[in-house]
């Protein structure tokens, strides 16, 4: 996959690959929403962010600071109104058109007319992947949904729906995985379990993950780096590297080492922090 | 209504359009004959003879003007109606063929395709008359009777001498017309009728109406151009400039008289033979729910005595 950095750019001109380039790179990226009544909301301004290939990066920041917006820009669901975003030498659109992005949305977005099993495989199928039945079942098992494969979304609790949405994106096995508060609706036990699962899956495939969360400990546990955004409009206020070795264990979760990281993030969030 | 005039409503069969056989009534109206007779005549246009019959039967209007067959069908259904004048003694209906067709008489239609209106008396007439034979009928809505023939889907159509014939000629289709009405088989044309109970109740108005109407027809055929203009005044949307109406009125004229004065001795006069002829044909064709008594169907009592009659 790292060979993809020498792939010619889509317009056929070979790009210079002399200096190692970030997998995702945002340059002075900004987005302004145009309200229906003409009023503007500046969601994001002047964001510079580089993410290396295979890196697990979390985004944290106050509610409404532009995390979802940034994720949508990377996933080509929104076009930035300022600056640029490049991913693996492509524009987000090109990467999306190559079906190399997987996304978990803030709301589960399950299709009410499809069973959980069908919801799980839908996106993979549409990306041209064939998902063997055993794989779907294994995924359901991981998510604790094995008894609900033939049920419909409205028969699931909020957390169960969100889990199904996570499974759907994981079955995609994409080069870039964008996850918007995937574990927000889960209890801590389930959350910890799925944190471990996600870490395991990520370690096996080493796909690049951009992960939005409100749980600082979740961010500290999972990430190589945590990016802290300030309140509206979103601006980068801290970029914390977490070097704890993989695979991280439950011991690490309750270690003073991680507690320190969390405290640092907490500080950055409340405005007492400094950029790393 | 003007002071001194009595309102009287008359329903006309407006399917599909103002008809040239109304000319006398419109002239009587426009030239003030009705007003002079103390009447304020209001016309209403209904979409079909059956409608005219029913609205007179239900008492919504005082007098109706419609084809004799629809009138008889209503009477056979128990509507308390009586005919008070046979405005057009002869029937305009007949068989229309493309000019030079091998159908020369009604006897030639056997096995041919004849297009006609659904459930109209014309197919019955066609088959019941002397020499009539059984064609292969093609049923369509009234306006399509002869367009079907134009489109080649039938060999002949039934239609009216003063309507389909000039229309077809105008569209460039030369046609021949074989009338259903003949000396041997006289068939009565459109009639004025009212509720039987009206005959004693509003006798004076009805008498005045018929007298003025007779005068209207006389006037109309004295000056056809003036009649066309009055027609246009009553129906401003009718295109009177293209000559069609004048032509149709011209065609109507011979139908206002009977060759045999014993059947129609004066304007509007009816005879038992005329009525029983049509009653027999329609009853034979299954159109009548019951067979009306000939004597009860009409009265000549309200007609102007010694009235005007066009020379044949």
């Amino acid at each position: 996959m790292s060979a993809s950095q020498t792939v010619p750019s889509p317009n056929g001109v070979a790009e210079p690959t002399a200096e190692p380039r970030a997998f995702v790179s945002c340059r002075r990226t900004g987005l302004v929403y145009q309200g229906a009544d003409g009023g503007e909301v500046i969601a994001l301004t002047d964001l510079d962010l580089d993410i290396a290939e295979g890196e697990f990066v979390s985004l944290v920041g106050p509610s409404g600071c532009g995390k979802t917006t940034l994720l949508k820009i990377m996933g080509d669901l929104l076009a930035p109104t300022a600056g640029s975003v490049e991913i693996d030498g492509f524009s987000p659109r090109q990467l999306r058109e190559r079906q190399r992005i997987g996304q978990v949305f803030q709301s589960a977005e399950l299709l009410p007319w499809k069973s959980i099993a069908d919801n799980l495989v839908l996106l993979a199928k549409l990306s041209g992947k064939t998902v063997p039945r055993e794989q779907t079942e294994a995924m359901a098992e991981t998510l604790g949904l094995q008894d609900f494969l033939h049920r419909y979304p409205h028969e699931l609790s909020g957390g169960m729906q969100q889990r199904a949405a996570i499974g759907r994106a994981l079955l995609l096995d994409p080069a870039l995985l964008l996850m918007d508060e995937p574990f927000g609706a889960l209890d801590e036990i389930t959350r910890e379990k799925l944190n471990m699962e996600l870490q395991r899956i990520w370690s096996e495939h080493r796909k690049t993950v951009v992960f939005v969360t409100h749980s600082l400990s979740e961010a500290a546990f999972l990430s190589d780096r945590v990016v802290v955004l300030s309140g509206r409009p979103g601006r980068l206020v801290a970029d914390v590297r977490i070097d704890a070795p993989r695979l991280r264990t439950t011991e690490y979760r309750f270690s003073s080492e991680m507690a320190e990281v969390v405290a640092r993030l907490h500080g950055a969030l409340t405005g007492e922090g400094e950029a790393s | 209504a003007d002071s001194g005039t009595t309102p009287l409503s008359v329903a006309l069969n407006f399917a599909p359009a103002p008809s040239s056989e109304w000319t006398g009534m419109l002239v009587a109206n426009q030239s003030g004959l009705y007003r002079d007779a103390g009447l304020d005549v209001q016309f209403s246009n209904l979409s079909g003879s059956a409608d005219v019959v029913k609205s007179v039967g239900s008492g919504q209007v005082d007098v109706g003007f419609a084809s004799a067959d629809s009138f008889l069908v209503g009477v056979s259904q128990g509507l308390p109606l009586v005919a008070i004048a046979n405005v057009v003694p002869r029937n305009y209906a007949g068989l229309i063929t493309p000019a030079g067709s091998d159908i020369k008489t009604l006897a030639d239609v056997g096995g041919k395709k004849v297009s006609s209106a659904l459930a109209s008396p014309e197919p019955i007439l066609l088959q019941a008359l002397d020499g009539g034979s059984t064609p292969d009928m093609v049923y369509v809505e009234p306006q399509s009777k002869c367009t079907v023939m134009q489109g080649g889907e039938s060999d002949a159509c039934t239609g009216l001498a003063n309507y389909q014939v000039p229309l077809l000629e105008r569209a460039g289709t030369d046609v021949d017309f074989i009338s259903f009405d003949s000396a041997q088989n006289p068939i009565i044309g459109p009639v004025l009728f009212t509720r039987a109970e009206h005959v004693p109740e509003i006798r004076d108005q009805l008498t005045a109406l018929l007298a003025a109407t007779a005068e209207g027809y006389e006037k109309a055929y004295e000056d056809v151009d003036a009649a066309v203009a009055m027609f246009g005044a009553q129906y401003p949307d009718v295109d009177t400039s293209n000559g069609f109406l004048k032509e149709a009125i011209g065609i109507t004229k011979p139908y206002l008289t009977r060759d045999d004065p014993s059947l129609a001795p004066g304007w509007g006069q009816m005879s038992p033979q005329l009525w029983s002829g049509l009653i027999n044909i329609l009853a034979g064709g299954g159109m009548l729910a019951s067979t009306p008594q000939v004597d009860a169907v009409f009265t000549n009592d309200l007609l102007p005595s010694g009235a005007w009659s066009l020379a044949p």
Binding site: R96, F105 | V73, G74
Partner: protein, 249 residues
């Protein structure tokens, strides 16, 4: 179900009473009992003329639904095509078909074709309008989901827009069903020697109002049955109804 039956029965009783008490003449409004008697008396004619009407209605309905759904899918989410198709479609609908009757016989002859065309022409419109509205009622979130895997236009239809349009489609089919029955009458009125439409014209011309109502009764009965059949189909097929039902329990 029994409530509907009760309502209908009581309406008939009311109607019968009004006619009997007020002595309404039959040619103005026949009593239901007279009408039912006519249904029995005219049963042969009714049965004979049922089949051609059903065939024309069925074929026209099928064609209309296919065209309606197809056209709606063609234009959904493509404003340009919408701008192209809409004016033409509106023209087909607002052109009064009765006015064109004589031309219909010239253009399409006098067989089954003009009837099927009229029915299809009437049917396709509510199906088209409703399906189009349904296809456009998709939420942004679901479209984003599809966009995220670069799903094809067809996949978006199949997995999102069509299921989303189902309740709209069924509302459209309900409307289409009733206009289908109207359409076949117009078609048989324009040209036909058979069918229930033909019987209507026949009994109208013989001013046999009770027999006319007998045909109307049969006709309304047919349409009502198909209407409830459609409801049954919706209950079986619609995901929305399934959810609503399971949430009531």
């Amino acid at each position: 179900m029994w409530v509907s039956v009760l309502v209908i029965v009581s309406l008939f009783v009311l109607w019968e009473l009004v006619v009997r008490v007020a002595h309404v003449p039959q040619f103005i409004l026949p009593a239901p009992t007279d009408v039912f008697a006519q249904v029995y008396i005219k049963r042969d004619a009714l049965l004979r003329n049922l089949q051609p009407t059903l065939v024309a209605t069925g074929e026209g309905f099928g064609v209309g639904v296919v065209v309606g759904v197809g056209l709606a899918m063609l234009i959904a989410g493509v404003p340009l095509l919408k701008a192209v198709v809409y004016p033409v479609v509106i023209a087909t609908q607002t052109t009064p078909k009765i006015a064109l009757a004589p031309l219909f016989t010239l253009w399409f002859g006098i067989g089954l074709l003009p009837k099927v065309i009229i029915v299809a022409l009437l049917v396709f419109f509510p199906v088209f309008i409703n399906t189009a509205a349904g296809l456009e009622s998709v939420s942004k979130g679901r479209l984003d989901l599809m966009k995220s895997v670069n799903a094809s236009r067809w996949a978006v239809y199949r997995h999102i827009r069509l299921p989303e349009a189902v309740p709209y489609l069924f509302a459209g089919l309900r409307l289409a069903l009733t206009v289908a029955f109207i359409g076949v009458i117009v078609g048989e009125w324009i040209a036909s020697g058979r069918g229930l439409g033909y019987l209507l014209v026949l009994y109208n011309s013989t001013q046999d109002t009770a027999a006319l109502f007998a045909v109307i009764f049969v006709f309304v009965f047919l349409a009502t049955v198909s209407f409830y059949l459609l409801g049954w189909l919706e209950n079986r097929l619609s995901w929305q109804v399934r959810i609503q039902r399971s949430q009531q329990s």
